[in-house]
Assembly symmetry: C2
C-alpha cells in the first residue's frame, strides 16, 4: 500500500485531539460506585475532621499547667478520674474525645500508674498529642478538585465526610463499526469458509474502550459500500467517538476515509506508525472518527496510539502513564526510519525477546507478546544487548 | 507505641508469602467475561490460522512459473479470470482465499491493468504474499500458558479460534474484619458523636481487594474483646485471606495479634514500615491474616506493602509493576533510618511536593497525595531538588 501522505504520529495525534471537546454530560452516582470515574466539580468538605478534639495517643488527658516543672527528681502525681480538673487526669485512647478542660495528652509509655494515681516525670506542651478540630480537614476546604480520578482510598475519604453521592462526567460512548465484505459476526459457527474472517476487532476495541472508561456500542458489520458506510457513520453521530475498523488502505474498496471527508473533515490518512500506517483520522459533527486498519495487530497499535488518548480526552479522563519495565534485548529489532515503530517483544525476566513474526495481520503475535518496544522515528531499530523500556500490553 | 520487634519489610513479606498457597479452585467462564482473570490451564489452538491459503495483499493471484523471466523490457501479459491457470490470474483482496493453482500474489501496485489483461514487469518467488495454512497459529500449538493474565487483545485471539469458554482460577475471597469499640458502620447518620469514628477502612480495603482481583467479604464491627475477635476470625477461616483492621498497637486492648497466635501462628508483629509500624502478620488454618493499623494512612500503606502481594499470590495473579513517574522534589522529605518509608507527595507536572502532614491518622493526606516516594531503610530522607520515582496511588 502506498500512501502519498504520511503524517508524523505526534502531529496526527495533536490534530486529532484538537478536534475533541471534553464531555459535558454529568451524572450523580453513589460514591461507592464511582471508582475510576472523574469528578465534574470540586468537592468541599461538609464538616471539620476531626469534629471534636481528638487524642492522638493512648494515654492520659491532662492540663499542662498541672505539670509545670515536673521532672524525674520532682515528679507530679495526678489522680485518675473521668473528668479533668486541677490535680486529675483522664485515661484516653487514640481517637478519643479529649475533655474540654484538658489541653494535652501524655503517652501511656511516659507515665507510671500506681493504683488510681499517675506519676509524671516531665512537663508537657499545651496541645501535645491533641488533634484540634479541623486539623485534618477544615469545613468547606476543597477535598478533591474537579477532574480528579477517584481511587478506592478517595471513596473512603468521602465516606468519612458523610458524602454519599458524587457528580461525575458521563462515560463517553464509542461506536464501533466493522467494515468488510468478508467479515462474519462472532461467535461464528464452526470454521469460517475460506476467505471469510471473524470480526474479532469489534470485540477487541470494545473491551479496550470499557477498560479505558468508555461505553462500547457494537454496530453491525458494514459491507464495502460507500453509501452503507456513510449510513453507519451517520447513525452514530450521537456518540462521543466512532471507531471504524477496516477499509482504510488504498485498495479500490477502501471507502472509509473518503466517506469521512464527505461527512466532515478527514484530518489525516496515512501515519508514520508501524504497524498501523493506513490509519485515518477525521471528524464529523464534532464526533472524532478513528479509522483503523482491519489487521488486528495494526489495528491494536492504532488503537493504543490514537484511540486511547482520544477516548480519555473525550471523557475528561486524566492520562495515566503506561506501565513500563526495563529490559535487555536478546536480539536485534529492525525498524524503518520515519515510522514510530511498535515492536512486539516477549519478556522473560529482564530479557526482551523480539517477536519474529512481522506481519500486521499475524494474530498470534498479539497473543504471544507481553509488550512493545516503541522505537522513535529518527532511530533505526535497536541492537542486541541494548537496554530498552518495554511498555506492557494492558 | 514501642515494639520490641521490628521486622524488616522485605523479610516480613517473605515470611507472610511463604504461608500462602495459590488458589486451586477454578471456574469456567465465557471468554468475553474473563478479562483480568488468570488461566488455570494452558490453551491449545483448536485449529490452524489461517485455515486456508490467504492473500497478504490486494493484487493478483498468479502461478509464479508464468512470470519466469518477466522484466520491464520483457513484460508478461496475463488474462484476468476467476480461476488461475496457465496465462491467467485472479484478482484477490487482502485476506482472500488464494486459488489452489496459484502460488504467489502480486501487489496491485506492481501491475498495470489494461482492459481484462494485466501487464507484469517482474518475476515473483513462489509463496510471495501468500499466508500458508497454520502460518499464524498451528493447530494444537500452545496459545496461552497456564497462569496467563487475560487481556482484551487475548480475548480477541480466543474468539478468532472459536474458543468461547475458558477455565480460570476462582477469585480469592478476602474477609475484612474491622475492630474497635468506637467504630460506627457506614454510612452513619449525621456527624458521629465525639470519640466515635466511621469505619471507612472496611470500604477502602474492600475496594482495593476488588481492584486487585479478589472478592471482599464485609464483616460486622467487632468490639475490642478477645473472645469476639477470635469468633470473628474463626467464622472466616473458610476464606483465602483475612484482613483485620485496627487493634494491633500495644495499648491494653489491642488483642488481635494475641488471638492470631492462639489460633495459629503470629509471624510478625511490628515491621520497619512508616507509616504502618504496628502491622502484624500471621496464619491460621492455612489462611493468611493481615492485621493492619486502624489509622487510615498507615493501614493503606500496610495494605499496599503486604495485602496486595498476598492477595495476588493467593489468587495466582501475576504481579504487575507499579505505575511510576520520575519527578524532582520541591522540598525535603524526612524519613527514619531502619524504616521503609512511604512519603506522600503531590505531583505538579514533574515536581513532587512533599505533603507536610505526617500523622498516620491524617485522612486528608490520602486524599491530597498523588503518590508515594518510597525511601529505603538505609537512607535518611531525601533532599530538596533530588530526582525521585513516585509510585502513583492507584
Amino acid at each position: 500500500m502506498i500512501f502519498r501522505e504520511r503524517t508524523d504520529v505526534g502531529k496526527a495525534k495533536e490534530m486529532f485531539l484538537a478536534q475533541i471537546k471534553g464531555m459535558e454530560k454529568t451524572e450523580l452516582l453513589p460514591a461507592t460506585s464511582s471508582i475510576s470515574r472523574v469528578l465534574s466539580s470540586s468537592i468541599l468538605a461538609p464538616r471539620n475532621v476531626p469534629h471534636y478534639r481528638r487524642s492522638a495517643m493512648d494515654g492520659f488527658a491532662v492540663r499542662s499547667v498541672d505539670l509545670l516543672g515536673a521532672s524525674p527528681t520532682n515528679p507530679v502525681m495526678l489522680q485518675i478520674s473521668d473528668d479533668v480538673m486541677e490535680g486529675t487526669c483522664a485515661p484516653v485512647n487514640t481517637g478519643d474525645y479529649v475533655p474540654d478542660e484538658a489541653d494535652a495528652v501524655l503517652m501511656m509509655e511516659d507515665t507510671i500508674s500506681i493504683g488510681d494515681m499517675v506519676e509524671i516525670r516531665a512537663q508537657v506542651h499545651p496541645g501535645k498529642n491533641v488533634g484540634e478540630i479541623g486539623e485534618d480537614v477544615r469545613k468547606n476546604e476543597i477535598i478533591f478538585n474537579k477532574s480528579h480520578l477517584l481511587r478506592p482510598c478517595d471513596i473512603a475519604v468521602l465516606a468519612s465526610l458523610g458524602i454519599n453521592d458524587v457528580k461525575v462526567y458521563a462515560k463517553p460512548v464509542v461506536a464501533i463499526i466493522p467494515t468488510g465484505n468478508d467479515l462474519l459476526p462472532l461467535p461464528g459457527e464452526g470454521i469460517p469458509a475460506p476467505g471469510k474472517t471473524l470480526d474479532i476487532n469489534s470485540l477487541m476495541i470494545a473491551k479496550y474502550v470499557e477498560k479505558w472508561g468508555g461505553i462500547a456500542r457494537y454496530c453491525d458489520i458494514v459491507p464495502e459500500n460507500k453509501q452503507l458506510i456513510e449510513d453507519a457513520i451517520c447513525a452514530n453521530l450521537d456518540t462521543d467517538m466512532i471507531v471504524v475498523s477496516g477499509g482504510t488502505s488504498v485498495g479500490d474498496k477502501d471507502y472509509v476515509p473518503e466517506v469521512v471527508e464527505k461527512l466532515g473533515k478527514k484530518l489525516v490518512h496515512g501515519v508514520g506508525l508501524s504497524p498501523g500506517k493506513p490509519t485515518a483520522l477525521g471528524v464529523a459533527d464534532d464526533v472524532p472518527i478513528l479509522c483503523m486498519p482491519g489487521y488486528p495487530a495494526a489495528g491494536l497499535v492504532a488503537l493504543f496510539a490514537f484511540g486511547k488518548p482520544a477516548l480519555r480526552k473525550a471523557g475528561n479522563i486524566p492520562d495515566v502513564p503506561e506501565t513500563k519495565v526495563k529490559a535487555r534485548m536478546s536480539g536485534k529489532i529492525m525498524s524503518r526510519e520515519g515510522y514510530l515503530s511498535y515492536a512486539r517483544v516477549i519478556l522473560e525476566g529482564n530479557i526482551a525477546h523480539p517477536l519474529m513474526t512481522a506481519g500486521a495481520g499475524i494474530l498470534s503475535s498479539i497473543a504471544k507478546s507481553d509488550g512493545f518496544v516503541i522505537i522513535p522515528e529518527n532511530v533505526e531499530g535497536c541492537e542486541e544487548g541494548s537496554e530498552v523500556e518495554v511498555v506492557l500490553i494492558e
